[in-house]
Subunit: 267 residues, 2 copies
């Protein structure tokens, strides 16, 4: 067993959807979260810039004692592909856990994927799904605006701008007849009601961040790295921009105020 924290990072606050899931399924674990809010978004930047930011984010987390790292960011996970950026501790991105789950859930073999431009251009989810089952039919769509709409709080179910943008992005996927949709960026579950309204009741929505959290649990279990503490774990949040903007926005992702210390740290 191991009492170190689980390190989680994201370009912004979307990764908090993974933190929330970890708190639910591993309530005794400590979490250290880093959100690169001074440089969000990543998904519209070049591959080399995203990989540089990724190295810096991981180096920041590794200044703390962490027993596993989760890249709770669809864009980072996509740029890394099957490469692990750390060798001595377990690591996961969100792509493979989400692809695995989607391949189990689909009945008609048609899966939709939404993500940032960098994610979709990389074909990361498509590659993962086809490695699992080459017959899966994938319809992928780049959604450049959705990260911003979520980060700025345009998230209520009746928000006209978000609904219009989501309709534009999702209509071709709905028309392709998918029965499963991977929300391939950890920001998207915040607007899942709008996404569900457009996709309809018969489409299963998968949160990439949640699937990564479940995968992390099984990975730590297998390697006997879970804590045996019985008291609740603590979350510590670091962001690269100001703490105040984190406090304003984090509740959208965690559904209540961030119950942990928050620090601003330049990287």
């Amino acid at each position: 067993m191991n009492h170190d924290a689980i390190g989680v990072f994201d370009s912004g606050l979307g990764g908090l959807t993974a933190v929330k899931a970890l708190n639910e399924i591993l309530p005794n674990e400590n979490i250290i979260f880093f959100g690169d809010t001074a440089r969000v978004p990543y998904g519209t930047r070049s591959r080399q810039t995203i990989l540089r930011y990724t190295r810096e984010d991981i180096a920041f987390l590794r200044r703390h004692p962490v027993k596993m790292i989760i890249a709770a960011c669809g864009t980072v996970s996509s740029m890394l592909g099957t490469n692990s950026p750390v060798e001595d501790i377990p690591f996961t991105g969100v792509v493979w856990p989400a692809a695995q789950k989607a391949s189990e859930v689909t009945e008609n073999g048609k899966i939709g994927v939404i993500g940032t431009p960098a994610t979709i251009q990389s074909s990361s989810y498509e590659n993962a799904l086809h490695t699992i089952n080459k017959n899966i039919d994938v319809t992928a769509m780049s959604c450049p605006l959705l990260v911003h709409l979520v980060e700025y709080g345009y998230t209520s179910r009746d928000n006209k701008i978000t609904r219009l943008a989501a309709e534009e992005y999702l209509t071709p996927i709905r028309n392709a007849g998918v029965d499963t949709l991977i929300m391939g960026c950890t920001h998207y579950p915040i607007i899942k009601e709008i996404i569900a309204d457009i996709m309809g009741d018969n489409v299963t929505l998968l949160s990439a961040g949640e699937e990564a959290a479940k995968y992390a649990k099984s990975c730590l279990e297998k390697q006997d790295l879970l804590t045996d503490r019985t008291e609740p774990g603590h979350n510590i949040y670091y962001v690269s921009d100001s703490v105040s903007s984190f406090r304003e926005n984090a509740k959208n992702f965690l559904q209540d105020a961030a119950h942990g210390q928050v620090f601003s740290s330049r990287i």
Copy 2:
């Protein structure tokens, strides 16, 4: 006279609207442009982060021989207020030139301002306008999505998402009865057709970047710093993210391909 270049910087590519104006009114001057495309946008970040990025952008430009610096970014200009970040060469932001022009143009004394959240929260344009004439009635509106819509090319006159967002932001300003609107972020002139459609024919639209370019000309003239070269000047472009994304997007701002060398440079 002085043959050094004019240095221009922006969070992203919006500042190219100022470069375009400089090329038109000072065709023999060399321009060095820096766009911080690896960290755009600035306008939704905290004051301290924006000021740190500003210092870094200026330090980058000053590695080249420049005779003046233009912060072609409404957000940066607003954070600086009346402080000049350089002492030995002339400097201008976009706020004061635009406010000066607006105060000359308005007939009914009612002026609208649109800008990023950081710009509007700072009340920079309002302060400048009230310093010029305390009776001016200012209606200001924060438009967080517009920078993204422009950077992602959602710029055609019939784009539904951009029109819906612009209508939401501009309706209160139109209802206030302004006769002049300062487009307080250098990205906005790219969608000026949509803005004009919503504001109506009787409202004068002012481009903050263009006004800054005109102010720079008069400033260099007064200090006898213009070149006396008769051949056309050259533009050199630096961006902090990849050159390829610059090439794709720059034509939206310059109306033709960037006629100059483009380099990617980490700062």
